[in-house]
Amino acid sequence: NAGVTQTPKFRILKIGQSMTLQCAQDMNHNYMYWYRQDPGMGLKLIYYSVGAGITDKGEVPNGYNVSRSTTEDFPLRLELAAPSQTSVYFCASSYSGGRYTDTQYFGPGTRLTVL
């Protein structure tokens, strides 16, 4: 299994541009998450999904959108990039959401810079 994969690894955007960060997992996990990590900080939840067609906002959803059309894929869309969105983005997945078994497995991250 490849686990959780993310593309691209690095990206530089100009203010106002749009892009989609890709995330895929091959573990048949039903739960998927997007986090962002600012320098020297822990991760903050942007959006999450509990299955195809079901998504909800996390702590910091403004400026982002998601969709979940398949179990495997959970892309994150930035519509009008702003410098405040400069960060490292991590996708994670977990199997059940069950209270004691919900270990989240992380992808390698996408480093995004908005200039």
Binding site: M41, G42, L43, I54, D56, E59, F90, R99, Q104
Partner: protein, 116 residues
């Protein structure tokens, strides 16, 4: 609100010594805690977890202690090796709105440096 914090941003230890990384949390509703290791340029990697009905759990060279009275967690790494150099995060689980999904509330991390 909930928060999880780490006591020290950096920790330096001699190779072969034991390392202890501390973490405090504020939300009593967190009943599941995880320690993650993050190496430079990589995503967080699961190390060990502990449920709130336990006060100690051991893995290979790692032990997590949970003190619910003072809302404190610690990660102990035995015989620290150069490969243990990384940033360590503690995270607590908070249940989200939909179908039991949970978010991780992360502390800021402790950077562990191993001196030869």
């Amino acid at each position: 609100g909930e928060s999880v914090g780490l006591h020290l941003p950096t920790l330096s230890v001699q190779e072969g010594d034991n390392s202890i990384i501390n973490c405090a949390y504020s939300n009593s509703a967190s009943d599941y805690f995880i320690w993650y290791k993050q190496e430079s340029g990589k995503g967080p990697q699961f190390i060990i977890d502990i449920r709130s009905n336990m006060d100690k759990r051991q893995g290979q060279r790692v032990t997590v202690l949970l003190n619910k009275t003072v809302k404190h967690l610690s990660l102990q790494i035995a015989a620290t090796q150069p490969g243990d150099s990384a940033v360590y995060f503690c995270a607590g689980h908070i249940v989200l709105k939909i179908q039991g999904a949970q978010k991780l509330v992360f502390g800021q991390g402790t950077r562990l440096t191993i001196n030869p």
